[in-house]
Symmetry: C2
């Protein structure tokens, strides 16, 4: 069953060679009995390490609390995806620089001119991110267009052939087989090579930008699988889009370029070494995500806002400006290349993978009277979105329980592909909605049983890539679709899209959502005209746009960034206000029922995701209640053996260790002196930076920052470092490697206060000290993410290994 949970989780690897060397935990409190440890794991184990606060500072309530939570000892692996669980599997990123002596020395050596060089490098990297993201988007677009075109032409010829002489079931078979086989390949590579490439990648990138390290998420291999996977899913006719995955792709590109090396390719270009730390990498990944959005929707400002909404801890003007630059370059590159490809070079008419096309504001402005109607559409979108999410939630739970093996996942994907084709075929077959072919812009008009010179209107929606269908729904002249077609299409596509999201294929949910919304929005517009007997002239295209916004908003619940993305994708700011109203309404209504799709999936993975603010009613909790205790501390000059033992201790594989005063004669004052990370200790041990106990005056070997950077981000596990028995007795001086000024909070600080500090500075470890600056506890991401606002007020999630 542990295997089960593994397979469907994002990391998806059995032997999880995590970026930090091991699939360890950050929370220093988990002293449970190995990976199967139960519940919140707040049990104390005997230990020979210097543990501070174990008895003296843990007050009585805390002890009682621990006893209480220890009682229900069910095995967490049996409920791997309980909503009220927080996984200990995920590491945190360090957005805070470890300001140790090495770092400060380097920074002090660098003069102003050198800083300018660094700054210029940042801009160059952002330009490269933009260009590469744009090119990848072009590649996807061109390949999809050609392959899908080929497929549709083959099927169309086949249908045309069999329409006359009967035997359309052959056409269906051909279509379904084509789809299923293409999807099979797409699903195979994802399931067997890189499971983290499944889905749109947006939840994963959200987590990454939030500060959670998702294994493999920004690797080159993931990018390759993602790109191929998206192409195959879209060509395979699934109800998916290629836009969402662009965000993931952009992020991987950014992470790769900014580090100047690829571990997948085992190449180190020896450039951009200054940027080899979490802080810088995360900034560049923000730029990559923005560039991805920008390439997908032609929405550079929307991209910037997306990155900021999801990732910003602290708004930094220079960073924002660079992100914007990357976004602009990205959409510009895409635009140039696609314009050249489409033969109208220089005119720059394709700013994004999907363009909603020109909404002529003169013809299609809105009036004040329409605003209540738009709000009503927002309500509908919110309800439909909530329904979509709820269905998908059940489906995901089902998948987690029963469809966990890669081969089953591939089979499911093939099944969905075949069913999608079949549904489409049946719908087209049964439809009697014929439209004159004259003047329409349908790419693959299916005549089927229509008269000559006419085409089947249902086929424009089903027999086409979803992007094209969306644009058709926005812009086809009034009367192109009859209400029945739209209604049936909405219904079918809704369930297909819902079934499709969560399959083991690379694919996004943006376009299907827009398509569902555009269909019912158009239907709504038509009905409105009809019901009011034409007294309200509702342009179906405009209502399709609002419906699309409502449905998408109801599903993903993004706010400002989505408004701007929609605004930019329409190339027109006129609709800004109604789109904002619709999205806001959809969000409020949707949130009333169930949370957004991405947040839901993040929660299903039990990711310790930090929201913007601490739960409003959490002022009653203080750092003392929240923190993990006891804390494993190190002394400033520590025995190597102790360090090795602490790092090897599987029951408490912490990642950050407070360093305390090592003066042996003042036993009672163990004042905090600094903080050192597991990764730093590993590097120290690897380089044998220690001296014999007898020769403490001998200066120990000096390390350079470069040594730490070279090991970043995949520090070897402690098991791979051999320390001899003699060496165990040596001493290691941590003074120059520890961060001498870690952020601290007093025990009395309230949870919101702790949360604010933690979130605003993007911390990984926050030391809790008492009045005498002695370490009493440690707050990490999980300690804060555990508290959540539930239906009945504050609730606490339990921790588990998942």
């Amino acid at each position: 069953m542990a295997n089960v949970a593994k397979k469907v989780s994002w990391s998806g690897r059995d032997r999880d060679d995590d970026e930090d060397g091991r699939a360890g935990e950050t929370t220093p409190l988990l002293n449970g009995t190995g990976p199967g440890a139960a519940g919140s794991g707040r049990q104390l184990t005997p230990s020979s390490f210097l543990r501070i606060g174990q008895l003296s500072n843990v007050d009585l309530n805390e002890d009682i609390h621990e006893l209480e939570t220890e009682v229900p000892r069910q095995r967490p692996n049996e409920i791997p995806h309980n909503e009220k669980l927080l996984s200990l599997k995920y590491e945190s990123l360090d957005y805070d620089n470890s300001e140790n002596q090495l770092f400060l020395e380097e920074e002090r050596r660098i003069n102003h001119a050198a800083f300018r060089t660094v700054e210029i490098k940042r801009w160059v990297i952002c330009a490269m991110i933009g260009i590469l993201t744009g090119l990848v988007a072009c590649f996807i677009d061109i390949v999809v267009e050609n392959l899908a075109g080929l497929k549709y032409r083959v099927v169309k010829d086949n249908i045309d052939k069999f329409t006359a002489k009967g035997g359309l079931s052959f056409s269906l078979l051909l279509w379904a087989t084509l789809n299923a086989s293409v999807v099979m390949v797409g699903s195979l590579i994802v399931a067997f090579i890189e499971p983290v490439a499944a889905g749109s990648g947006i939840p994963q990138i959200k987590c990454y930008l939030n500060g959670v390290k998702i294994p493999h998420v920004v690797r080159l291999k993931t990018l390759v699988i993602k790109v191929c996977g998206v192409i195959l899913s879209v060509v395979g006719g699934l109800a998916v889009g290629k836009e969402g995955p662009m965000i993931h792709s952009g992020s991987v590109i950014a992470a790769g370029i900014s580090q100047g090396r690829s571990t997948s390719l085992k190449r180190d270009f020896k450039i951009f070494e200054y940027f080899r730390r979490d802080t810088e990498k995360r900034d560049f990944v923000s730029a990559g995500a923005a560039a991805g959005v920008s390439a997908a929707f032609g929405a550079p400002v929307g991209g910037v806002l997306f990155s900021l909404e999801e990732g910003a801890s602290f708004w930094n003007q220079f960073l924002t400006w660079r992100i914007f630059f990357a976004s602009m370059i990205s959409t510009f590159t895409l635009n140039s290349v696609l314009s050249v490809y489409h033969g109208n070079a220089w005119d720059l008419s394709s700013p994004g993978l999907i363009n909603f096309g020109r909404f002529d504001s003169e013809k299609m402005g809105y009036t004040i009277q329409e605003i209540p109607i738009f709000i009503f559409m927002g309500v509908v979108g919110g309800i439909l979105g909530a329904l979509f999410n709820a269905l998908n939630y059940w489906l995901t739970m089902f998948r987690i329980r029963y469809i966990h093996r890669p081969c089953l996942q591939v089979v499911e994907a093939m099944l969905v592909a075949a069913v999608t084709a079949t549904v489409g075929f049946v719908m087209i077959y049964c439809s009697r909605d014929c439209q004159p072919i004259q003047g329409s812009s349908v790419a693959y008009p299916l005549q089927l049983f229509c008269a000559d010179g006419e085409y089947n209107s249902m086929a424009t929606a089903f027999f086409n890539t979803p992007e094209k269908s969306v644009v058709n729904l926005f812009h086809d002249p009034p009367g192109s679709y009859n209400p029945m077609t739209l209604g049936m299409f909405t219904l079918m596509y809704f369930f297909l899209a819902c079934w499709t999201y969560g399959l083991t294929v690379s694919a996004g949910v943006f376009i299907p959502s827009l398509l569902i919304g555009a269909a019912w929005g158009r239907l709504f517009g038509i009905s409105l005209s009809y019901l009011t007997k034409g007294s309200i002239w509702a342009d179906p295209g405009k209502y399709a746009l609002m419906g699309a916004a409502a449905q998408l908003g109801g599903i993903v619940r993004m706010t400002l960034s989505l408004t701007v993305i929609m605004m930019e994708a329409t190339g027109n700011v006129t609709y800004g206000f109604p789109i904002m109203l619709v999205l806001m309404t959809a969000k409020i209504v949707g949130d009333y029922f169930v949370e957004g799709l991405y947040d839901m999936h993040i929660q299903l993975q039990s990711v310790p995701f930090l929201h913007w603010e601490a739960p409003v009613t959490s002022h009653s909790l203080t750092a003392r209640e929240v923190m993990s205790t006891p804390v494993t501390c190190l002394r400033r000059i520590e025995r190597v053996g102790t360090v090795v033992d602490i790092l090897s201790d599987t029951s408490s594989n912490h990642n950050g260790f407070p360093v305390v005063e090592s003066n042996p004669d003042t036993t009672q004052v163990a004042g905090l002196r600094g903080l050192i990370l597991r990764s730093q200790l590993i590097v120290l041990l690897k380089h044998k930076v220690f001296v014999e106990r007898a020769n403490l005056s001998v200066v120990q070997r000096r390390l350079k920052l470069k040594d730490f950077r070279d090991a970043y981000p995949r520090f070897p596990p402690i098991q791979s470092i051999h320390v001899s028995q003699d060496e165990r007795e040596c001493m290691i001086d941590l003074s120059e490697f520890m961060n001498p000024s870690p952020y601290t909070v007093p025990q009395e600080a309230s949870l919101p206060r702790v949360f604010k500090l933690f979130r605003a500075l993007g911390l990984r470890h926050l030391v809790v000290v008492d009045n005498r600056n002695e370490v009493v506890g440690m707050v990490t991401r999980k300690d804060l993410a555990r508290y959540r606002l539930g239906k009945e007020g504050l609730e606490e999630l339990s921790l588990a290994q998942t």
Copy 2:
């Protein structure tokens, strides 16, 4: 001379009844000899108060440093606007909540439902901010349109009359007199009633959002003067716009509404009392500023970005979404009202005070070849902008020295008004550029010496409100202006606008900048076509737009927000990329010479403005060098007399006092227990919250948070509180009023680290502690703002009372 400096400064009041009760300082180190104290004032005075760190923790270097800086004892008032000076006059805002027991008790009492009510109130306030800001913008627009229309019609009739029969000097006289008298009124009210209403208000709002308290800046009186002042300046024909001041107006509206009372009107509506603290108020002011931008330019997203760029400490999704809501409501209100006013109700065609008009992207797209040309225009804009700023800098210095009296300021404003009219008249008179009136959309066509059916083209630029001139330059068909006209206009308007900015009138610099840029941009476009003999067809309107962007970017140096504002004002996202390139180039080139206009004026006022990051080369400084020391501390249970003495001490009017353990027998450990603010102490003293020393066990009077909120934001000065000799001997227990978990940093933390914490959390006081949690110093805004990156690396500003 002190008076001189006062008068031109933003606070502009001789008896400065500051919001915090007194024009005091925050820096705890200024122990100089009263308001005239010199230089950086790092001298130690004997004191009977508990001062910590005075000898023990100040290291030798620090002492030497102090001796050195003490040597040049020139009176700072003689160089009141030295660039290297930091004023101690400005208080800081407290963006960090004082989480004392009262606050926590209140927060804990509030349940989830009550929090929802608070949240709904926030939304209601934002909606009201949007509506009111929109209405104020409408009011300004309508009044200006009518008054300016009246003026131009009168002058035009006069000119038409005298053109035939000669004696046009009468017309000039009429025009100049009209302008001068209107401007006189506008200048009088600003100079004599509320000097802080002068200028665009953007630097002031930037400072406020940055966390600096500018006296009177968000008062109702300021709003009234601002609105009237703007109307009069624009009607008076100055080279100014009414857009910039909308940002200030929106901010005042926000501050007023969110507090539910007006001190100017002496009305307390007893609503929104929960929001009576700096944190909440500042959030609403962000929304107000955004609503102002939104109303001014029809740019809701641009408004949000403006607020974030200038104000955000910590990006908060909910806050951003509310700001966006306020912006949207604001532009929507303006749009609705103006649409109704213009007779085409419901069509919503006037989203902002200025609309750049429709740029038809089909006709006016850009090609890749044009991009280098745009970049070149950015360079030109950067150089011209830098020139503008440099000239304005000299002019401002001149004004500070010689034009300090209000009456002189009024005379200068009148002079500028008269000269503007004269220059315009002469230019029109000398121009021989006649254009056919047919098909043009000129509002007040002046025939002058043109043939019948023609009008003077120079007059479209000069004889019009600047907004209309900008739109004309963007959209008039090619050939509407001859190059000579544009060149002369650019030259003249450049100097006029430069002279005008900084006058004692309410007026913005956005529109004049756009106008200058549009003029030379159009000229550039025409020249380009001419020089390449038509091989490059440069649409003059498009080049006018790029020129406008370049010039504005060169002057104000805003980045992302300005790009989006320009994009939204054109109602079209097509030009996003070139506008971004132009603005970026203009900023880079401009920054090479001199800083942006707003930053320059902020610096001239010696405001302790915190930029985004600490200077890059400041890693060599640590908290120990940066902090102010000695710190005046209070004991947890303190004698009332001591408190009164400390608060009354004019040589060191601190605003925050660390509270230390009061146990008398452990003299050596004075561990930090909390932080209390001057304002809190004042309220405690006012309410006589103390007990006799003999009855320490008696519970002292309880205060409610309401008592503190009622006093906010204008706490009475300590002098107004009478404490009898008996009461002086009483004891006051600070435990429940102090913030028990103030943020602290160790002495070893580097300046960038301290800066980041301070800036990210919007702090006002940051306590520096040693390893035993003893207070050794205090870091306030001025200590951080002192360090700046100059031409030759890090430089330190001196502190002065200005």
